[in-house]
Amino acid sequence: MKIHWLRLLGLGLALWMGAGAAQALTPADALALVAGETDDRITTLNRLATAADERASVLIQAMADESVRVVGERVLIVQGDGALDAVTGERVAAVPEEAEDVMINNRLRSAMETALAGMQLVGADAARQREAASSLQRNAFDEPDASQLPLIDKALAADIDPQARQTLELARAAVLLASEDEAQRLQAAQKLGEARQAIVRPLLLQRLETEESAPVQGALKASLAALDRSLAISSALGQAFTGVSLGSILLLAALGLAITYGLMGVINMAHGELIMIGAYATWLVQSFFREALPQWFDWYLLVAMPLAFIASALVGAAMERTVIRFLYGRPLETLLATWGISLVLMQGVRSLFGAQNVGVENPSWMSGGVTLMGNLSLPWNRIIIIGFAVAVLVGVTLLIGKTRLGLFVRGVTQNRPIASCMGVNTARIDTYAFALGSGIAGLAGCALSQIGNVGPDLGQNYIVDSFMVVVLGGVGQIAGTVYAALGLGILNKFLEGWAGAVLAKIAVLVFIIVFIQKRPQGIFAMKGRSAEA
């Protein structure tokens, strides 16, 4: 029989792929899964999932990965250039032109995830298990239903990762909260006190409304109180974190300016464009890695960082050599010239790379986040940027404060002719200093590319903030810049929490105005006579 032969072949292939299959996927099933009304597809999905067929599981996984195409009646799983027939497992050399994408909406996607989770809970590696467990848990928290119990219990009975177990136990408790059995409800209510997720709250509240048994009520209340406590703490922590994170961004954006403007006195309106150049450099490196070294893609940032620094530093050095060096001692004129430079740089980038944004991807180790206390998730990119800002800060402080180069930079920027009389090659020091400040702007651009858009206007968004930070901190005071950046970041986020983003921003600006009234020279005002010199 033809079918039989095909099945055998399929089985063989499945075995060859390293897994045994109990029941085969029919072409009709495959087709029903990838096309038709969403309701029907979900029914098919659930049926296939419980049947635990290896080939079906491969197909579902492929669908979740968006690598399934349909050609007529045939369902293909795209693999590299070629494809596999989903039903037969047959290799197809090239995906035909007319292949159509499979339409997947969010509903289907959730269903697939749960199905996969159920299929993968047992036997997979720990990470996969945890993921699957959370998926089941989310389902249970969303809409607890007794039908979820068998799957959970089955998994709990098996030998699984302890963390996944805890997750599943909470899921189980969520389902059991509606149980007929008071003891079970009590246990569930107590258990849920361990959950640190806001999503549990409505569950508990709803139960409390209908609960009649006093002990269960007590347990519910206790769990609620524990939950609220933990939520309050995590939300306060979260707010502090966002504040620090914003502060670190401001700091990075402003540090370069603290050198070019704070120390050298160049009102560098092109500072933002130097940031932008750093970001574009990052993008170029990323694109190169994607093309040429895809296997190393995750580490492109390590190359991008120094290159962003160098790119911006070179542009900065060129600016210094050709324009700025003729303007020392005339700070207001530097404003005009650098404004001109910024226009040119921006338009230059538009001509070269187009006016639209370019995409910079986070490497995988910078995507996602860590979850703390069940409810507080801190994105990796933010955490890493905070660390990066600290590192750059320490580097700059040491360089400026402790090295001979730093001493010369400070000396030259204060009194160029006399420094020259002391034997300092002022022209070179100026170039170094400006290139350093610009390079740091480039580093900022590299970091900013990880959280925001990279486009020709990128710099414009940061220039005002950068100046505010440097000035608020006290011109020429790197320590002041740090305080100002953190202070503004935290204040802004704090206000945003209860006044909304727009009013918060206005309030912060008003705060700056008022603050300067009290401290007309910024946070770290230079005191005494030296301030006048």
Binding site: L327, A337, M468, L509, I513, I516, P520
Partner: protein, 376 residues
């Protein structure tokens, strides 16, 4: 006394004379400018046929009128920056405030001709406002509007300046807080709740003093009015900087603490010129709005304020004529280049700024002086 004592005042000590308001050549140029504005331009626009080479098109009238408003801003900036050494990055705010006051009046003049046939301005209608908010109270009256055009920017500048100067905020610190102020105002005006049209601001004006606004005659009238104002402000500014008041301002710019030890309190001086400068900008804004037909918070953007400083610097600081020229050169160039080289004009403009700073540190006026000096 010893033999070294100075002889009695020799008759030969000639004290420098106080300069006249304008030199003879200056007056001639001034009168020519006046004639151009209120006779030549209207003639060329209204009476020379459209196909003649000498016809001044409506577009040109609008453009020149707009640039004259900018020139007033540059003049105002020169007073505060060029002469007093205080760089304001907030003049866009005063300009916009004047503009908004005028805009409110113009909005009210639309009457019930709007989309919704309501007494209220359209944007209020579709945002469910039932009555005019308090700050629109005086927008019906032209007289009140004229007063407010001066008062609103003046008062904002006065209060802000009073506190800032009293706290002795100087240099960049001052520049930055003016920028913060303007930025805050920008965000405030963007908000629809503020009741000033949000991002869209005010447009689609129909009448001024009951007369239709989009006619050639009205445009010419506004143009002449702007020209008059510009020239009037110029004379006033000349007078101000020529007086001892002006010299005190320059002294403040050079060594403020020394000014105090001479017995001057710099606060009222700075405050006076600051307020005057703000008012000038406000008036410019008020003249600008009916000519360009829109006012929105864009005028308060950081870049807009910096541009005012740029015109001033291009023309030549502390020269009064320079900033006016600067406004014409930069904006003229911008208008021309955005059409002729839409994709490259920013390179030209950027290069212009760089060139001016490198080779004409005193701006265009400085260059002219140098050339003249070299010839003489």
């Amino acid at each position: 006394m010893t033999n070294m004592s100075t002889p009695p005042v020799p008759a030969s000590v000639t004290l420098p004379q106080a300069g006249p308001l304008l030199t003879r050549a200056g007056w001639s140029a001034f009168i020519v400018a006046l004639l151009v504005v209120c006779a030549v331009a209207p003639l060329l626009n209204l009476f020379v046929p459209a196909d003649s080479a000498f016809h001044l098109s409506d577009y040109m009238v609008g453009l020149l009128g707009k640039i004259m408003c900018y020139a007033i801003c540059a003049l105002a900036m020169d007073l505060i920056w060029g002469y007093t050494g205080i760089l304001s990055l907030g003049h866009g705010l005063f300009f916009a405030l004047g503009g908004y006051v005028m805009g409110m009046y113009l909005m009210r003049q639309i009457g019930t001709d709007g989309n919704y046939k309501s007494e209220l301005p359209d944007f209020m209608v579709f945002l469910d406002w039932k009555e005019l908010p308090w700050h629109w109270a005086l927008s019906d009256s032209f007289i009140a509007t004229l007063l407010l055009i001066v008062l609103v920017p003046g008062l904002v500048a006065f209060v802000f300046g009073y506190f800032a100067f009293r706290s002795r905020i100087k240099g960049v610190y001052f520049s930055i807080i003016t920028q913060a102020l303007t930025f805050a105002a920008l965000l405030l005006f963007f908000r629809n709740e503020t009741g000033l049209g949000g991002n869209n601001g005010f447009t689609d004006f129909k009448r001024i003093l009951g007369l239709p606004i989009a006619t050639q005659n009205m445009r010419m009238t506004l143009f002449v009015l702007t020209g008059f104002t510009l020239l009037g402000f110029f004379l006033w500014a000349r007078w101000l900087v020529g007086s001892k008041f002006g010299r005190v301002l320059q002294a403040v710019r050079d060594a403020e603490s020394r000014v105090m030890f001479c017995g001057y309190n710099p606060l009222p001086y700075k405050l006076t010129i600051w307020t005057i400068s703000a008012v000038m900008c406000g008036v410019a804004g008020a003249l600008y709005v009916p000519q360009v037909g829109i006012i929105n918070p864009g005028e308060m953007s950081t870049a807009a304020s910096i541009e005012i400083a740029v015109w001033t610097a291009v023309g030549g600081r502390a020269t009064l004529v320079g900033p006016i020229l600067g406004a014409f050169i930069v904006n003229g160039a911008k208008s021309w280049l955005t059409v002729s080289f839409p994709e490259y004009w920013l390179y030209f403009l950027g290069a212009l700024f760089i060139a001016v700073t490198l080779w004409m540190p005193q701006g265009v006026v400085g260059l002219v002086k140098k050339i003249r000096g070299a010839k003489a």
